[in-house]
């Protein structure tokens, strides 16, 4: 899991450099870490011959993070809702939900092989409502 720790540290640097407050930064870093864990564990199945590829970018308007694995693919529609009463006490299945809860946009793209997640967090400049306008139109 060394690669996950590296990804987490890079995400922390990204959020700090973007000037995010502690709570927002925590949510973004947690989501990125969950995506990296999913890629290593569920995507690549802990196979040491498979890699994860991570990109982190501050576009000025948003933080855009991509996490790709080399696994067999993932159908996001088939992930059970962890808030459903029958799933609430399950021991697993909250990673993707947390990612979706903590970020503004989450996109899945099937690679050959693998899955790429693109995570987007809009930056909110002080005194601007640009982020909420973006949210309305997505």
């Amino acid at each position: 899991m060394d690669s996950v720790a590296e990804v987490e540290a890079a995400a922390e640097k990204l959020t700090q450099a973007a000037g995010m407050d502690e709570d927002e930064g925590f949510r973004v870093v947690m989501a990125v870490r969950e995506a990296a864990v999913n890629a290593v564990l569920h995507g690549n199945g802990y196979d040491p011959n498979k890699q994860i590829t991570v990109g982190l970018e501050n576009t000025g308007k948003s933080l855009v993070i991509t996490v790709a694995d080399e696994g067999e693919g993932l159908d996001p529609e088939k992930i059970p809702d962890p808030l459903a009463p029958e799933n609430l006490l399950r021991g697993t299945g909250r990673g993707i939900f947390l990612i979706r809860s903590f970020l503004d946009e989450v996109h899945f793209r099937q690679l050959h092989p693998g899955t790429e997640l693109t995570l987007v967090k809009h930056l909110t400049p002080a005194g601007s409502n640009e982020a909420s306008q973006d949210l309305d139109t997505k």
Binding site: M30, L83, L98
Partner: protein, 114 residues
Amino acid sequence: MALSISTRQLDGVTILDLSGRITLGEGSVQLRDAIRDLISKGEKHILLSLGDVSYIDSSGLGELVSAFTTAKNQNADVKLLNLTKKVKDVLQVTKLYTVFDIYDDEAHAISSFK
């Protein structure tokens, strides 16, 4: 920082003071082993003090849920004490805040087991 766990007894309640991160791998396994050990010894009243837990991930949440359900199956109770803002945030988003008995005051938490 890895997870550290220290155990103490007070008025028939076993209190686990957790410090560090409850995450996939070491932290989650340590917590699982500690809870299972207590339940196998017949402990019925277990209080997890999380005031020094800086971080919990989805795997750590899963361990808390597993601890809760394992305890219930053995007619024991696992309750939570002193959540940090970050841990509370994650429990609220996942609705697990509604599952656990959660306390801010240790004496109140201990008396709740009686």
